[in-house]
């Protein structure tokens, strides 16, 4: 190939990049960077002219956009399923019948994970009071959260179809109880892109020492392009795996090696004319920037003492408090979706390590102050208007004492038929209460909110039409909210 031909080719390549300028505006916001351009040619989707105008993946699948109230999500998931009766769903009648045998009609047709025979009712050991101007009933275990509860809409009538952890978490976060679906964070970054070119668009952080039961499938990209995968950031060790240079290599050393890589890759691009090579050059540059930006954003010691104290954050700890503060730092820098998983809420009562008397107060203490600090901090910075904060679990817990194997510790079994979740900010109606359960806190008597309805409402607030936001895979138009009809955006939750 002669020199002129090379020039022509380079011109073509540059032209392709230049033409993709508006696309790159998306990419600048996504971890994908230029990778998504390459992706567009790899995805094998029909590139119908005009139809892909809004798809950050450039795969030709239209993204139905609407005016948005919110830009970001911080999802605080209490892995294991917090007991609604001990935190939000006040049931004096249940307390009255504490330790009485469970009425037969509550057991009819029920499947339990662990309860066998006829269990006894379990009242809450905790005091409840009306909190905030909205007068929300809350237990004494969450005094700090009570201080910000007026910002939130509390849904007492969440309902799921699953009563084992992994399927229930998969359902909550991928819209399907089986493996293979795409995570909500992947859907949302796929639909909206990210706003920071040096950070991933979908970040996951874990506290409590254990991954959620659903595992990494909960932040898997599933059938969506894999650049929308959640990236796990850690507060101990490398904040993102392999982000640190090898021992004996400084930033200057890395810069020089990178320059050599780029130089040889430019020769390769010239000789072979593959746009993917140019993409790789830019991805290596992005990696280099991430090596600085990720440790920077993940360093809580950069926050003033007063803020760290407010959250209860301590540099170097793998704590929920640190993760809450980091969530704010990430959202502030344009990360689209931050998912926190906190382990230890599976209060069966098989021992002191998982009961509602010892373990539950401990867990509440871990999360209560950081949650309140997060909501207040976001509000002070004007970020709460555009950030939805969600708190919840994957299912509820029974109003009966589990007493597995005759355990004398108090605890509750898995319960899919009702649980409490709250959301604040980003167009959520502050101070609202949605739904109600019966007097024993066992089933919903008013306005059930299925998981898919809640997901649809989140998408709606983010400006994505939940019904037509879909992706073709295996012969179906896949949606976060499933393919079945009957899902609703819940107006009760909207400001």
């Amino acid at each position: 190939m002669g020199l002129d031909a090379n020039l022509d080719l380079n011109q073509i390549l540059r032209m392709r990049l230049a033409r993709a300028e508006s696309r790159r505006q998306f990419l600048r916001r996504s971890q994908a960077g230029l990778g998504a351009i390459a992706l567009a040619s790899l995805m094998g989707r029909d590139a119908r002219a005009g139809a892909d105008a809004a798809s950050p993946a450039g795969d030709g699948v239209p993204i139905p956009r609407r005016p948005a109230k919110a830009k970001n999500v911080i999802y605080l998931h209490m892995s294991g399923g917090p007991p609604q009766q001990d935190l939000f769903d006040y049931k004096p009648l249940l307390n009255k019948h504490h330790m009485e045998p469970c009425p037969e009609e509550l057991l009819k047709g029920q499947r339990f994970a662990f309860i066998k025979g006829r269990p006894k009712m379990l009242g809450t050991p905790y005091k409840f009071a009306r909190r905030g101007e909205s007068g929300q009933w809350m237990s004494e275990l969450l005094p700090h959260t009570a201080g910000v509860i007026d910002e939130a809409a509390v849904v007492r009538s969440m309902i799921t179809t699953e009563f084992n952890h992994a399927p229930a978490e998969l359902f909550m976060f991928t819209g399907s109880p089986r493996n293979g679906g795409a995570a909500m964070g992947s859907w949302i970054t796929y639909g909206l892109g990210s706003e920071n070119q040096d950070l991933p668009g979908f970040v996951v952080m874990i506290s409590g020492g254990t991954d959620p039961t659903g595992g990494k499938a909960l932040w898997s990209t599933g059938f969506l392009p894999s650049v929308f995968q959640g990236v796990q950031c850690r507060t101990v060790g490398d904040p993102v795996l392999y982000v640190g240079d090898p021992k004996g290599m400084t930033r200057e050393d890395r810069r020089r090696t990178l320059d050599a890589i780029n130089r040889l890759n430019e020769i390769e691009a010239r000789d072979h004319g593959d746009p993917e090579t140019l993409t790789r050059i830019s991805q290596y540059e992005l990696a280099f920037r991430m090596q600085a930006s990720v440790p920077d954003v993940m360093d809580v010691s950069r926050e003033p003492d007063s803020i760290r104290e407010e959250y209860g954050a301590e540099p170097g700890a793998a704590s929920f408090a640190n993760n809450c503060l980091l969530a704010r730092r990430l959202v502030e820098r344009g990360v689209r979706y931050v998912q926190l998983f906190d382990w230890g809420w599976d209060c069966h009562g098989t021992g002191a390590g998982d009961d509602i008397v010892h373990q539950l107060p401990k867990k509440c203490k871990d999360v209560d102050r950081p949650i309140a600090a997060l909501v207040r901090d976001l509000k002070r910075r004007g970020l709460l208007d555009e950030t939805i904060v969600v708190w919840g679990g994957e299912f509820g817990r029974t109003s009966m004492n589990e007493a597995r194997g005759g355990s004398t510790f108090l605890g509750r079994d898995h319960h899919p038929h009702c649980f409490t979740l709250w959301a604040a900010g980003g167009g959520i109606r502050p101070g609202a209460t949605v739904g109600a359960t019966d007097e024993l806190g066992s089933s919903i008597v008013e306005d059930p909110v299925p998981v898919h309805d809640f997901q649809a409402t989140l998408l709606h607030l983010l400006g994505l039409d939940p019904f037509t936001f879909r992706y073709p895979y295996q012969g179906l138009q896949q949606r976060l909210i499933g393919v079945e009809d009957g899902v609703r955006i819940r107006k009760e939750l909207l400001a």
Binding site: R19, R111, A166, P167, H272
Partner: protein
């Protein structure tokens, strides 16, 4: 936004125009995609969701007038066709499809439908359900180019677009491509040099045969099948306990290396246990479907997850062999393809009679005796013989020490690796299968017997419809899909993308083939050859199409940016396992033992600490097992090996037909900083210093030749020499840093090597392992 959309649309537009060169509207090519996408969800095969009692997927129904309405389609008369009227309706609240269901049809689509109705609204069966017929070889512009019939199909298509194929790639590039594609390993320097000098006219063909015969062939080609088989070393779900099933991987590698014909490969995996007098190998093959997940989380209902596993087996069988999305029919009849809800549970009934039932012990299992285990057994037998002879020689009871030793040897002998397999229930324990309403195992409907989808060919007669019948039905010559799907998958591995790009979906929702006649020719040839897999690979790898240069021209980039027409060879980023294997091979570290248990190479500390349950410690393997090929890496579903996950390896929780190839900064971080790759860079640096001449130029040239598989040019050598000089100066002044970068984690330098020099070469080697040309097969 508008400009780039137009840009991305160019290619498809060009191809579409060509496809419509003749005026006749073709149902399969032009019409079905429009109806399938926009109409069939409510007016298709699924009786449950059908609206207005109207079907548009069956001509007799669509053209029928009823008392209530005129025909939806009036053949020859677009104006009288109610469907077209509703589709073209200007009022957005009245148009079809309804706003909630989807966007308005594009004008061009409406026009296509109008012309189709005007031409008589003729339907045709979906191409993939019509058995492949051997098509005639087309005439081409340059009869000297094709080396085989398959090249003629490629060239004929390029001719139609006014495009030209590319010249043959240079020898070095060809050998590297071939070695990576057939063995998943780079060619050795000796192979490269020998091949460059081989004057034989069939030097290339001989190289193909050599690599097909290399044991590494089976390892490389096992990888895509392991993705399909959702093979993993753990049971999945929340607890994700470890599972011993690597014997299946051994079986698979061996089946590929011995070139087990694909029909037998199929029958043995689905129903090896039902063959007359099955061998241990045939029973072991059935572990294929024991790769389903088992849920051992506390409080789960075993029947719920047994049913989930059976559904998975149905879905994966139809997916892997026939490219059909049968899973869609588990809740309701398929909305697009002729697969009913009842038929789904008919296939479910076929798989519903095995003894496994979501139990933590994975029963039933069989012993898996590798040559090493057999050796050990023989030694133990000999030892036991001796001990027992000693015991026999003693009058009275043997001494406690001897008794203990016998017990210990017997226990050791009983401790052999196992393999979960399929075992059919005895007749008296057969399960009754019912249709599960909406797929819910708690909501059983009418009873259903074992059956196969009616829209396809009938089952072979003479035996009940069981797994063996189903397997024989899959490889029946009348099956329109099995050979096509296998040929397409093989093609995709060698050419970067399938002829049917949606490898996972040959149904009406999938993409039509880019070269339908070629696909049929490959499928028919494959069956005619006796399902000879290596012969099929050989046919493709020796073609002129395969041997083209990967260099793209501006014209090709403009006209066909996805290179669907193969005017040049594809450049493809190596898959996760190969990225690893290649780096270790360059470093001289790669362990070449074939088969055996999974291994634990270096990964970041603490990843398993966070596991919900079960084993939490990852004990890094020692010795050769630290450096085995990627496919032997222990695969825990909920905690995937992170560097391979970054390079798009799936979790294997479900069947993955193809891996999407991404290009992300996280991948750059792996090959730049992961200690595995730092160690490989150190090994490569030592090799360069040991094996190359003494000048920095010689050494840089040598490193490039090892990694690129070709002699480098001066402009490529210069930046590496400059980097070496800069790093040498820097590391001379910082011995601690030099020592770290040159030895951590590989270990102390051999006697006589200069730490600063090796540190500088490690930086150069780190560069080499990150070059686009090295990470890409060109």
């Amino acid at each position: 936004m508008h400009r780039h959309a137009a840009w991305f649309g160019t290619a498809a537009l060009a191809l579409a125009t060509a496809a419509r060169a003749d005026d006749r509207v073709d149902y399969n090519r032009d019409v079905r995609p429009i109806l399938a996408k926009n109409c069939f969800a409510c007016h298709g095969p699924d009786e449950g969701d059908r609206k207005a009692d109207l079907r548009l997927d069956v001509r007799d129904e669509a053209v029928k007038a009823t008392d209530d309405r005129d025909p939806a389609l009036a053949p020859g008369d677009p104006e009288a066709s109610v469907a077209l009227e509703r589709i073209a309706e200007e009022d957005d609240t009245l148009r079809m499809p309804p706003r909630k269901a989807g966007p308005r049809l594009a004008d061009a689509e409406v026009e296509t439908l109008r012309r189709w109705i005007a031409q008589g609204a003729e339907y045709a069966e979906h191409w993939a359900l019509v058995p492949p017929q051997p098509p005639p070889t087309p005439a081409v512009s340059d009869p000297s180019w094709p080396r085989s019939a398959l090249d003629a199909f490629i060239l004929a298509r390029l001719d139609r677009e006014g495009m030209k194929p590319s010249p043959e790639a240079d020898r070095a590039t060809l050998l590297r491509r071939l070695s990576l594609d057939l063995r998943g390993l780079p060619p050795t320097l000796n192979e490269v040099r020998a091949f460059a000098e081989d004057p034989a006219p069939d030097a290339y063909e001989k190289a193909v045969d050599r690599y097909l015969a290399d044991p590494a062939f089976g390892e490389r080609w096992a990888r895509p099948w392991l993705d399909l088989a959702r093979y993993a070393d753990s049971a999945g779900y929340g607890s994700d306990p470890l599972r011993t099933i690597w014997g299946y991987r051994d079986w698979l590698i061996d089946a590929l290396n011995t070139n087990l014909p694909y029909d037998r490969f199929t029958v043995e995996q689905i129903a090896g246990d039902l063959l007359p007098n099955p061998t241990d190998r045939q029973r072991a093959a059935t572990a294929f479907h024991r790769n389903t997940m088992t849920n051992t989380e506390g409080g789960t209902d075993d029947e719920e997850f047994r049913v989930a596993a059976i559904k998975d087996r149905v879905d994966v069988t139809f997916q892997a062999w026939m490219g059909l999305t049968m899973g869609c029919a588990k809740c309701h009849s398929h909305k697009y393809d002729p697969l009913s809800h009842e038929e789904y549970y008919g296939a479910f009934a076929v798989f519903n009679q095995t003894a496994d039932s979501d139990l933590p012990d994975e029963s039933p299992v069989m012993p898996w005796i590798t040559p090493e285990v057999a050796d050990r057994q023989r030694q133990l037998d000999a030892r036991l013989g001796e001990l027992k002879a000693q015991a026999g020689a003693i009058v009275g009871p043997p001494a406690p020490a001897l008794r203990d030793e016998i017990a210990k040897a017997e226990k050791a002998k009983a401790d052999v690796p196992t393999l979960p397999i399929m075992v059919e229930l005895p007749p008296e324990k057969r399960r009754v299968t019912r249709v599960l309403l909406k797929g819910n195992f708690l909501d059983p409907g009418p009873e259903v017997g074992p059956m196969l989808p009616k829209a396809l060919h009938p089952a072979p007669e003479g035996r009940p419809v069981d797994r063996l019948t189903l397997a024989n039905w899959l490889v029946d010559r009348k099956n329109p899909l099995t050979a096509r799907v296998a040929a397409n998958r093989t093609w995709a591995i060698l050419f970067g993308a399938g002829i049917v790009e949606t490898e996972e979906d040959f149904g009406t929702q999938g993409e039509p083939p880019s070269h339908p006649e070629l696909l049929d020719r490959l499928a028919v040839d494959f069956m005619d050859s006796g399902w000879d897999v290596k012969a099929m690979i050989r046919r493709m790898a020796t073609s002129a199409t395969y041997r083209q240069s990967a260099r793209s021209t501006p014209e090709a980039l403009e006209k066909d940016p996805k290179n669907r027409l193969l005017s040049h060879a594809p450049r493809v980023r190596l898959d996760a396992e190969t990225v690893r294997d290649q780096a270790l091979a360059f470093a001289g570290l790669l362990g070449r033992k074939v088969g055996g248990p999974s291994v634990f190479p270096v990964q970041p500390d603490g990843l398993w600490q966070a596991a919900f349950n079960g084993q939490r410690t990852w004990t890094t393997s020692r010795g050769i097992d630290r450096y085995r090929r990627g496919l032997y890496t222990f695969w825990r579903r909920t905690v995937p090996y992170p560097s391979m996950a970054a390079f798009d390896a799936p979790s294997r929780e479900i069947c993955a037909v193809k891996r999407v190839r991404t290009n992300t900064p996280l991948q750059a971080l792996v090959t730049l900083n992961d200690p595995v790759y730092v160690e490989a860079a150190q090994g490569l640096a030592r090799r360069i210093v040991r094996e190359a001449g003494s000048s920095p130029e010689d050494r840089a040239r040598y490193g490039l030749e090892v990694c690129l598989g070709r002699p480098p040019r001066a402009e490529e050598v210069a930046p590496l020499v400059a980097l070496h000089a800069a790093q040498l100066e820097r590391y001379r002044g910082d011995p601690a840093a030099a020592s770290a970068i040159a030895t951590d984690p590989l270990g102390p330098l051999p006697e006589g090597m200069d730490p600063a020099d090796l540190a500088a070469w490690t930086a150069v080697a780190n560069v080499l392992l990150n070059l686009d040309a090295v990470l890409t097969r060109g």
